[in-house]
């Protein structure tokens, strides 16, 4: 191994020191011929014959020079051509093997490279937030994945694209609210900590969910933000509402803010009553856990606010599944 590396380095260096090497090779071989000629003359051969004899014993001078050059440099182009031709012939000889190899490579590259086309859906223009034209929904292309993403991809996209856009994750969940009079279904949204900052709508009261609220292992559920409508219907617009508890799917959440009436979030099919952190998914979905399911669970949507209006709506993010798994 060490020897191979050393040989490669010396050969590579040989490429750059070509002139000097040429000179040295010529000098070395000339020295040999001169000594040989002298020795022939000492044995009584006449000078012109001595030169001839020395050369004959040596064998073609140019040929040996050429061979010396071959030793000390890499004949990159020729060797590469030869290798490619050999590879091609070998593949042609065994087409089955070639097909399997090519199919495997194609599948491997396909699986590791996913193209996300960023779709500026017409729908989103009606989202009632500032600069809604910069909002996009992400989807995976090509393929039949639609708009669903898994959690690890979301975190990766969030990290890698932060210079281009503010990425957030969300998904609707119908939740069971425990009230003094029994159990009631309410429509909810699980939202990442970046959701509200990206949508840029100020809460009517209190504060909205921020990245600090969206941490794994939230004790007892964490925070909740409710809609103005829900505030009126369930809490009679009580101004002392902040800090009160909500039991959603048997998990306690603390109300920290109220969103204005006009705010409906990203999902236009829904009028959410409560927003809770994405990381509380294992608590409200128990016993199932989409976050822990990793790459296998395609359960959430990803939206983004682009910092700049981009004409081209496709970006390519490369993923190696194995790297993050």
């Amino acid at each position: 191994m060490w020897q191979n590396i050393r040989e490669f380095i010396l050969r590579a260096a040989g490429i750059f020191r070509k002139r000097r090497r040429e000179r040295e090779i010529a000098e070395e071989l000339d020295f040999h011929l001169a000594l040989k000629e002298a020795s022939c003359r000492q044995n009584g051969v006449a000078p012109p014959d001595a030169i001839y004899q020395a050369r004959r014993n040596f064998g073609g001078l140019e040929r040996w020079k050429e061979r010396c050059r071959d030793v000390s440099t890499i004949r990159v182009v020729e060797d590469l051509q030869r290798d490619l031709w050999l590879a091609f012939r070998m593949l042609r000889k065994s087409p089955t093997f070639a097909c399997i190899a090519i199919a495997t490579l194609t599948a491997a590259i396909g699986a590791n490279t996913t193209i996300f086309s960023l779709l500026n859906a017409v729908l989103l223009k009606s989202v009632n937030v500032p600069r809604a034209d910069r909002l996009i929904l992400l989807r995976v292309q090509p393929g039949e994945y639609g708009y669903g993403f898994n959690y690890p991809w979301f975190r990766r996209i969030e990290q890698e694209s932060s210079s281009l856009m503010q990425v957030f994750g969300f998904i609707r969940r119908d939740l069971r609210l425990t009230t003094p009079s029994g159990i009631e279904d309410v429509s909810g949204q699980l939202v990442s900590g970046t959701y509200f900052p990206a949508l840029q709508v100020a809460p009517e009261m209190g504060r909205y969910i921020v990245p600090g609220d969206d941490r794994p292992g939230i004790p007892g559920g964490g925070v909740a933000v409710i809609s103005a409508g829900f505030w009126r219907s369930h809490f009679t617009a009580d101004s002392q509402i902040l800090g009160r508890q909500l039991r959603l799917n048997q998990v306690p959440f603390t109300i920290v803010g109220i969103m204005p009436e006009s705010f409906r979030g990203m999902d236009q099919d829904q009028h959410p009553d409560v927003f809770i952190p994405l990381e509380s998914e294992p608590l409200v979905d128990a016993p199932s856990n989409s976050i822990a399911a990793g790459y296998r669970a395609w359960w959430m949507w990803i939206g983004a606010r682009q910092h700049l209006r981009r004409k081209r709506s496709t970006m390519i993010l490369r993923y190696s599944r194995n790297r993050a798994e």
């Binding site: 040989e7 020295f31 000594l35 030793v71 000390s72």
Partner: protein, 116 residues
């Protein structure tokens, strides 16, 4: 010179792969330049082994590249600049293993040819 004599002179050609070993052996007792290596091989083999003298140089360079020889320019006996080769530690080790391999091989071939 008849046809027969010509054939006999060819019989001194080297078995492929043995040149490296002979070069290493020539350098075992001290540094030499290429010409001296050729002379040494001729002399030691009582002129039986015919080394195409030019073939020596690619072989020397290859051995140098593999780290078995170390080369440096010095002054020759007639006070010209000449490239001297000397055996390195790995070169000495390689010579030893080649020598053993050759002895085994020669013994085996001899054994086979001696059989009936």
């Amino acid at each position: 010179m008849g046809r027969k004599a010509l054939d006999e002179s060819r019989s001194g050609d080297l078995i492929p792969g043995t040149l490296d070993m002979l070069i290493l052996k020539a350098l075992e007792s001290g540094p030499l330049h290429g010409y001296a290596v050729a002379e040494w091989i001729h002399g030691r083999s009582h002129d039986v082994l015919q080394v195409d003298e030019g073939a020596l140089y690619p072989a020397l360079h290859r051995l140098e590249l593999r780290g078995l020889l170390f080369a440096e320019w010095g002054a020759s006996e007639n006070n010209r600049r000449a490239k001297f080769y000397r055996l390195t530690g790995p070169g000495r080790k390689h010579l030893q293993s080649e020598r053993e391999r050759w002895t085994r091989l020669a013994a085996a071939v001899g054994f086979v040819l001696a059989g009936t």
